[in-house]
């Protein structure tokens, strides 16, 4: 892929009654076992290494210490997480919504698309999070809008690029078919372009979900209200309270994973209603 942030949709949805579906070994539950075993192994090794080599806890706390600190500080960390989550969700909604609408508008004019997609791809590969100090100046350091803005800008590009690709990559023969049935431009969008763009939208949203948490936390490193995950992490680290910092990092990761899981779940649900599968065509 030459475009950063663009992930080609895969047709990995398979229905049990399908003729050409294959199971990739085992059901979902048994497929979860190997990664879980690896995770448990890594944590155990981490714990063991620190105990055996007597590594100073302020350099790298034990997983058990991080967990116990997390529960000790749960109230403060969760309040901070709730604040950060609001910025993440607000930014996601704004950025993804704007990305979707811009894609929908520009894809109607091929010359605009040809100009805007490479530009968007270029901007997408720059460190947009560096905007954070400027956003703080614009909206005020403690105003949630300064974080929402950074998240929205970062989320905008992968969503816009992916949705545009999905809208314009409709098979020419499908467009000709719709033309032969005298479909209106509006019908072409609703019957062919939007359904075709849905898997691309979800791929964009998956990229956006991971980026949004990174964007919010890093933006908060540049300053924000005391009750924000990024501010909490940087302050605790500055005070050598590494167990607290790690506990907050664990929560930030959990938010990212949860958002990614939520998008995946939404995709599955939509696929139950509209199962895409790249058509199997003989002789092609």
């Amino acid at each position: 892929m030459t475009d950063p942030g663009f992930v080609a949709p895969r047709s990995r949805f398979s229905r049990p009654q399908g003729d050409r579906t294959r199971s990739w070994g085992g059901n979902r539950a048994t497929r979860l076992v190997p990664p879980l075993l690896v995770a448990v192994g890594v944590l155990a090794l981490w714990e063991l290494t620190i105990t055996v080599f007597q590594i100073q806890e302020f350099l790298l706390p034990k997983p058990s210490t991080i967990v116990s600190t997390l529960f000790a500080e749960l109230g403060v960390i969760l309040r901070a997480a709730a604040f950060t989550l609001r910025s993440v969700l607000g930014g996601l909604l704004l950025g993804a919504g704007a990305g979707f609408l811009v894609a929908l508008t520009t894809s109607r004019f091929s010359y605009v698309t040809e100009a805007s997609v490479p530009l968007a791809a270029a901007i997408n590969s720059t460190p947009i999070v560096a905007l954070a100090p400027i956003a703080n100046q614009w909206f005020g350091i403690t105003d949630p809008l300064s974080k929402i803005f950074v998240v929205a800008v970062i989320v905008f590009f992968p969503v816009m690029i992916n949705v545009t690709k999905g809208l314009i990559s409709v098979e020419p023969s499908q467009l000709e078919l719709l033309r032969s049935y005298a479909a209106s431009p509006r019908q072409v969008v609703f019957k062919a372009r939007l359904p075709n763009a849905l898997p691309y939208l979800f791929n964009g949203l998956k990229v956006a979900a991971s980026l949004s948490v990174i964007a919010a936390v890093v933006a908060e490193y540049f300053g924000g209200p005391r009750e924000a995950l990024g501010v909490y992490i940087s302050q605790q680290a500055a005070l050598f309270h590494f167990a607290e910092a790690w506990a907050a990092i664990v929560v930030a990761s959990a938010i990212g994973l949860a958002l990614f899981g939520f998008v995946t779940l939404a995709e599955r649900l939509v696929m139950l209603v509209m199962p895409w599968q790249v058509a199997f065509r003989e002789g092609e």
């Binding site: 399908g18 078919l177 509209m274």
Partner: protein, 259 residues
């Protein structure tokens, strides 16, 4: 009344620019109601382009095309024809029935009416029990039958088929040729069928329009008087072989002439 009336049509791509290609030149063709006419020729002879001119997917550079006495654009908006392409061109996310319903849905027909009509057409192509399946769960031949059912939902006066069986294996192909003739006789629709298979053209058509390449033109129109219904016995009849030979020699003669 003549269903398709083509008069001294030329089609040039990239006219006046580099890469200018004369796809068709001096085409005259009239197709009567209820006829099964095949456009036959080697690749590059413009047979698909000619079909696209009839279907208003392209416009002639000069000359006129009339469908049911109207310009093709008018006929298209009046939904006078159904189209079947080489690829089934089904929408993967729609079930078979919802694919067949699509043309009626686009025309704003009521759901129940569209549903009933689509089931009737699926019955006609023998796929009624697959209404709830998705296209990717069907074989290539079944997918193409769905495409044919979809093209028939309007009971179009004109069915335009661009190598619809070209991607299928020989056995499926012969079976679908038989089915197509049955559907044609049951619906009485006019069919314009593009192929590069001589035997397919002779087996199916009332008339074979033989075309040649560079530039695309009609070198002869061969009437096929073999009686309908045609079946496996037709394929083994001496009269059938004689026709195949006649068409083949016409094609070869045009090739020699253009060298």
């Amino acid at each position: 009344m003549i269903v398709v009336d083509i008069r001294s049509v030329d089609k040039t791509f990239n006219a006046g620019r580099t890469g200018e290609v004369t796809a068709l030149t001096g085409i005259d063709l009239a197709i009567e109601p209820g006829e099964f006419v095949t456009l036959l020729g080697p690749s590059g002879c413009g047979k698909s382009t000619l079909l696209r001119l009839i279907g208003d997917l392209a416009a002639p550079t000069s000359g006129t095309v009339a469908v049911n006495g109207k310009p093709p654009g008018r006929a298209r908006r009046d939904r006078d024809y159904g189209m079947v392409f080489q690829a089934p061109t089904l929408f993967d996310w729609r079930t078979v029935i919802r694919n067949v319903v699509l043309p009626l849905e686009l025309a704003g027909r009521s759901r129940s009416e569209a549903q009933a009509k689509a089931l009737e057409m699926l019955e006609l192509v023998g796929l009624r029990e697959f209404a709830g399946h998705h296209p990717w769960q069907l074989s290539g031949g079944m997918q193409q039958r769905v495409a044919i059912a979809r093209a028939l939902t309007f009971e179009p006066a004109l069915l335009l088929m661009d190598e619809p069986l070209g991607a299928l294996d020989e056995m499926t192909r012969e079976k679908l040729q038989g089915e197509l003739l049955r559907i044609w006789s049951e619906t009485g629709t006019t069919v314009v069928f593009v192929t590069h298979s001589i035997s397919e053209a002779v087996f199916l058509s009332n008339r074979v329009v033989v075309m040649s390449a560079r530039p695309g033109r009609i070198v002869g129109i061969v009437p096929v008087e073999l009686p309908y219904p045609r079946d496996i016995n037709t394929r083994e009849a001496p009269a059938y072989f004689a026709k195949v030979t006649e068409v083949r020699e016409l094609l070869r003669g045009s090739e020699v002439a253009s060298r």
